[in-house]
Symmetry: C2
Subunit: 487 residues, 2 copies
């Protein structure tokens, strides 16, 4: 039996090359049981005419399907669905008709309260996306990333790609972090003091799970990264929110019974404040005196274009009190999900065991790709290129904000990728953001960064990591105009 | 100043092409501050002679380093370290001289007790690796995997690659799972009932965190996958271990106050028993009567070569009591870390929030690569090829075990990738495994699969997923011989 030509159409919503889409169309028809073993496909000529594509494209798609044993070729008789093609299931799919489960009762723990700030997933469609932490395709080094990924996919690396690392990591990546990345932050660490994580978020989460209990007190910055506050809330510890000033976290304000302090000394998130060396030392002295640990999220240290970054807090740590969190996701792209945790071996041992239980390890291919990208020097080259672009953008945004008379409440001492702004007290920046969205401008209202039930409503953050200089000026003008209209 | 030729040597431990290794050598010297701005590199001719490589290789490496702005080319004067090359840090790296932290006290929660079974990381070097769940390079479709990964790295997919999905997943992957993968297991689900996880391990962990509390009772199979027992222990719930028989988990043995049952009906891990449909229905009836939930790890359902797999437990679930765990890591490779969770929307909502807090989402590139591999039909083709190979291997291992008189305690009704064996009572299989390791044979002792302080010592598992037919016969003969020696 021949399969009718009219059965075939290229779903306009599918992506990929024409050949791939034809392959998909045939394979999915077989998988779904619409085309059965022994049935004959239209000739490549007829299929090509029907779909309006070239005949060679159809022939190549058929050839691939033969290789995967979906089709067999019987010389001049044409292509047939193979006898070995996958069989559709003998049963039909169904869903539960009803539910007798009381989900209010069945859910033992809830986590959905802390979802916090949401960004529109189509942010890239907006003309003025002052949005934080997304990849800019005009700056990213796609070509070399592809080459490294390809190298990591090679036969030579099959073991690294597929390896079940159990509770270990890619040794090449760990070695580069230990020998090159950490020394540049003033840190020496051996492999048993380093753990690869699914981004900084995962590193912070693991740390909180290990160090905190219901009886322990964590201190965090206020304002701070909302996801960190969710992590600490879920850890069900006691929690102090310490107001930051223009030098970041003031150690004097920490309660005496603090057990663990979470801080972002390089660039405080979201104010971008950089903690001066004197204050870093004071914080470490307090840690020693009051016997607490410090978790340093070395947030955006690499975005330093106004001056060399200070050494990390951990590099000043004489007594092993600092746990260090680094990330590749920020300078590469957030979809990468790759970061690392550095700390004393007993801590890393527990972190490794917890990670093994939660997710085993970060995918081998990603680890190896990053190892190549780092070791070939592409990473540092990318950071420098990005920093230069951010330097230009920072000058443009500073000028534009000054021209509009918008008050800068915080900026990084040696760089960063965002500025923290204070609107006049009567402006609610959540409303401002809604208003601006209709004009193609995305800003981040400040309220979700603050702790407590009545956060200040007049702060906002503008990031310049995904928007070029020309659009920055236009966008800031639209923000200024909207603020004047709301006054 | 010229950099002396003698400074350069190719570290024999590095991997990659010669060109890449030369690039690494120069880039790392610059990053480490050994080569400074303005210093001249040896000419490509001299460097090539010194390293014993062709001149074009050195020239290509230099050209790449110019593109990344590590070097500048000054025409006939040669190559110099660029003025824009990364600066080494102004401070030196150090580690804490001492520690004043009492880590026994500082660690609030410990996770390292449950590490369980370890496999040698160099298992592939053994001649007879009867080891479970590792990728076999002779079966895996590396070529098409590379093509799919490459396609997912294309400019067209830049957004999918880099996207910060926040708490979402790759829509293409979710759509394929919903439209093709799940219907083949008899399941209909909408996107808000599906969550992508870091492998089945991560899916089970998330489920336990949400459904269990200190007051709730989980029931699991005995023996069972040791990592699942760790997950349940860490969830600090009440825990019942239910002895399985040749039909898997017997529902009659479940305590009345059970809240959540974890089961592997397709192939019980590790006995490979398949739960018959009548028992599946009895389990669901008990679930309804006693108001508990069932977590179905649809373990290895796709390795079905002796008969068509039964529909999943979830497909029989009329009242929404089954949470379904699927995995791509097993049929692709464990280093992939990709699985999924299917359940009622209120549950998936909480699972999504927890995953966002712990790790945000699985890397975008991996999700998109799998989406292509699935939709082009390569995945099903791979599963079929693998199943055929396993079918051959299963016949060989059955014959070899019979010839050696080794008792099979469990085998999958329609396939699987391992057999579960019982040695005579006086044989301790942990000692047997140590003994065999010296002869190049890796087997898995059974004790870690059992609950309790005095597990039976005479069970073991032999997997045939990473060992070809010829080696199976030889290896089983060595096992038989070792067993006779130990008697």
């Amino acid at each position: 039996m021949s399969i009718s030509l009219e059965t075939f159409f290229l779903d306009p919503s599918t992506e990929g090359t024409l050949q791939a889409r034809i392959q998909q169309m045939v394979a999915q028809g077989i998988l779904a049981g619409r085309f059965r073993s022994g049935e004959r496909l239209p000739s490549s000529r007829k299929m090509a005419e029907h779909l309006g594509v070239s005949r060679i494209t159809v022939t190549l798609a058929y050839t691939e399907l033969v290789a995967d044993d979906y089709l067999t070729s019987r010389g001049r008789s044409g292509y047939f669905v193979s006898d070995n093609a996958p069989e559709p299931p003998a049963f039909t799919a169904q869903r539960a008709r009803t539910t007798t489960v009381d989900w209010n009762r069945a859910l033992g723990h809830r986590y959905s309260d802390g979802l916090g700030m949401q960004k529109p997933s189509d942010w890239a469609q907006y003309k003025y996306p002052f949005i934080y932490g997304q990849a800019d395709p005009t700056l990213f080094d796609t070509a070399n990333w592809r080459l490294c990924a390809l190298q990591a996919l090679g036969k030579r690396d099959f073991a690294a790609l597929t390896a079940d690392y159990f509770d270990g990591d890619d040794p090449q990546l760990i070695e580069f972090i230990a020998r090159q990345t950490l020394p540049r932050r003033g840190i020496l660490a051996s492999p048993d003091e380093i753990l690869v994580t699914m981004g900084a978020q995962n590193a912070l989460w693991i740390t909180a799970q290990i160090l905190l209990t219901q009886r322990r007190r964590a201190a965090t910055e206020d304002p701070c990264y909302p996801a960190l506050r969710s992590i600490l809330t879920q850890a069900r510890c006691q929690l102090s929110h310490i107001p930051v000033d223009s030098n970041g976290l003031p150690p004097d304000l920490l309660p005496r019974d603090t057990d663990v302090v979470f801080t972002t000394p390089s660039h405080q998130c979201p104010t971008s404040a950089t903690m001066p060396v004197a204050r870093r030392k004071a914080l470490l002295e307090r840690a020693e005196r009051d016997d607490f640990l410090v978790v340093e999220d070395d947030y955006e240290f690499e975005m330093a274009f106004l001056g060399a970054p200070s050494p990390s807090l951990k590099s000043l740590d004489d007594t092993g009190r600092v746990i260090y969190v680094g990330s590749f996701s920020k300078s590469l792209f957030p979809g990468l999900r790759l970061g690392y945790l550095v700390g004393p071996a007993p801590f890393i041992h527990e972190a490794r065991a917890l990670r093994a239980s939660v997710l085993r390890h970060a995918p081998g291919h990603i680890q190896r790709t990053v190892a190549y990208f780092l070791s070939l020097g592409h990473y540092d080259a990318l950071v420098r290129r990005t920093s230069k672009a951010y330097h230009d953008r920072r000058q443009v945004i500073d000028a534009a904000l000054a021209a509009e008379g918008i008050t800068v409440a915080g900026e990084g001492a040696y760089g960063g990728s965002s500025v923290w702004l204070r609107a006049p007290a009567q402006i609610n920046t959540t409303l401002l953001a809604q208003h601006l969205r209709d004009k193609g401008v995305l800003i981040e209202p400040g309220a979700p960064f603050f702790a407590g039930d009545s956060p200040p409503q007049n702060y906002f953050r503008l990031a310049y990591s995904s928007i070029g200089p020309k659009r920055i000026t236009e966008g800031v003008a639209l923000i200024g105009q909207a603020m004047r209209e709301m006054m």
